[in-house]
């Protein structure tokens, strides 16, 4: 970490977080982590290590069995369910399987988070165009996701995640389905978002990617933090 982490400049704080789906199936055990604002970190570990569970806890899809989670100074552990959508509006989320709506054009897919926030139509058009231009898809506004390659679909998903200028970008194996060259393009987009001040958490088990784009690495195994180092 390049800066000294104090409460004020921390974007994400997890304290002794435990998460179990069933009595004897523990996904996270006594997990503590601090992520400063503007940080870029990899969450890595084998399948079943708890990376996806950690991301789910961060975007409020699950609640921890024990422990505290603070996002931008707000304790989300006991957050009422009606407030979860407002937390998610400050996040951008990218998935391995893109999660684009196949019956909607790229423009409509990227416009979704802005429409949810009740933004005005001209503002939506403007921002969506800029976001798609940023990922190099401005010429394919009216294409449907299945008319695009995997890399283009993931770029569209990233445009959707970034169109609201989120504080935090969460990505779950975003390059898992893509070949190396395309994965590098995607990583450049994450780097760019991070350079503009967005805190990025990227779950991956792609060692080659971590070597090529060295950043802070948090390793998990069987739900425990086993390593946390910066290059």
């Amino acid at each position: 970490m390049s800066l000294i982490a104090t409460g004020r400049n921390l974007m994400i704080q997890l304290y002794n977080v435990c998460m179990s789906y069933q009595k004897d199936a523990t996904a996270l055990t006594d997990f503590t982590l601090k992520v400063p604002k503007g940080d870029f970190l990899y969450l890595t570990g084998p399948s079943g290590a708890g990376k996806s569970t950690l991301l789910k806890l961060l975007y409020g899809a699950e609640k921890p069995t024990r422990g505290q989670i603070l996002m931008n100074g707000m304790n989300i552990t006991r957050m009422r369910s009606w407030r979860v959508p407002f937390l998610r509006r400050k996040l951008g989320i990218v998935f391995q399987d893109f999660k684009l709506i196949h019956s909607r054009t790229l423009f409509e897919n990227v416009a979704f988070p802005l429409e949810v926030q009740g933004r005005k139509r001209f503002e939506v058009s403007n921002k969506v165009y800029q976001a798609l231009k940023h990922v190099g898809l401005q010429g394919k506004l009216h294409r449907f996701p299945l008319q695009l390659s995997g890399g283009e679909q993931q770029r569209a998903a990233i445009a959707r995640a970034l169109v609201t200028d989120p504080l935090i970008l969460l990505a779950d194996e975003p390059t898992g389905n893509l070949d190396d060259d395309v994965a590098c393009d995607i990583m450049e987009l994450f780097k760019g978002a991070n350079a503009r001040g967005t805190t990025v958490l990227l779950a991956t088990h792609d060692r080659e990617m971590i070597r090529r784009y060295p950043r802070r690495v948090v390793s998990l195994d069987k739900g425990r933090l086993v390593d946390d180092h910066s290059p």
Partner: protein
């Protein structure tokens, strides 16, 4: 606010265009369910009409020992007409009773030749309001009549009244049970059909939730869609039921109910037609709401 409404309307329009087959299935299901209900209502309305005609026969007649003076009759009439059960009180003089009897005998009227026109007693005929044409209403009036001095007899046929009451109660019970069952079955089918439309869009619902859509924002287009499908289903049901009524049902029901004294066969009143549309709207809304509970989880 207006912007949100505009957004929801656009989304409903787009959803309907994108899944026309499933939407048509939902509309068809609502239409069929409401048509069955409408047929049932037509049958009940017409049987009730027959019952109402029968109930016109329900009246109480009080016979006088001696013919009372005009002022007394007026006093009793005012007294009885002040009761909430009573619609009208007619005084039938001895002569009037004789004239009616003779008319009823028709061609055999000459049997009464040589009989004095004052051999029948004078009477008060009490006609009850429709709502009081039952055993309780009749007994209340009879109790009041029995307080009048000089009455020889009060006629009101208690056995027939009991049977009529039992018939009306059975009709109401059957209406509630069968109608309730039909509504429940319709709701179940409609809710499952709408579940199909939601299942086709579960991905969209999940993504809306992930990008920060509130439950109300996610549900609103589906609720509006359900309501619209319900109303359109209701309109189709009314058109269908009217066509079948005009072509087949009117004659068929008349054939069955004519023997019981029905004058004509009634279609649904404007209120009942409005009720069918409201029922469609509620079916669509409730069906969507029940299905959405399962699909929209934050």
């Amino acid at each position: 606010m207006l912007q949100s409404i505009g957004y929801f309307v656009r989304r409903v329009g787009r959803n309907l265009r994108q899944t026309p087959v499933i939407c048509s299935a939902a509309i068809g299901t609502v239409a069929v369910a409401l048509m069955i209900m409408a047929f049932f209502i037509i049958v009940v309305v017409n049987v009730q009409q027959v019952a109402r005609q029968w109930s016109r026969e329900i009246q109480v007649v009080a016979y006088f020992d001696k013919v009372p003076g005009e002022d007394k009759v007026d006093r009793w009439r005012d007294n009885l007409e002040g009761m909430k059960e009573v619609e009208r009180v007619d005084f039938v003089s001895r002569e009037e009773a004789f004239r009616r009897f003779k008319k009823r005998l028709g061609d055999d009227g000459d049997l009464l030749d040589g009989v004095g026109s004052d051999f029948l007693p004078a009477s008060l005929e009490v006609v009850l309001h429709e709502a009081s044409r039952n055993k309780t209403g009749v007994e209340t009036v009879v109790r009041r009549l029995q307080q009048i001095p000089g009455l020889e007899d009060v006629s009101y046929e208690p056995d027939w009244l009991e049977r009529f009451d039992a018939f009306v109660n059975l009709l109401k019970l059957a209406g509630f049970v069968f109608g309730g069952f039909l509504l429940f079955a319709a709701l179940f089918i409609v809710s499952n059909t709408i579940k199909l439309t939601l299942y086709a869009r579960r991905e969209e619902i999940e993504i809306m939730s992930l990008v920060g859509g509130t439950p109300l924002f996610i549900k609103m287009p589906f609720l509006l869609e359900g309501a619209l499908q319900g109303i359109v289903g209701g309109v189709f049901a009314l058109i269908g039921v009217w066509a079948i009524f005009a072509l087949v049902l009117q004659e068929g029901l008349y054939g069955v109910l004519m023997v019981t004294g029905a004058d004509s066969i009634l279609f649904l009143s404007a209120w009942q037609q409005g009720g069918i549309l409201v029922c469609g709207l509620l079916l669509g809304l409730t069906g969507s709401l029940l299905s959405l509970r399962k699909f929209v989880r934050i």
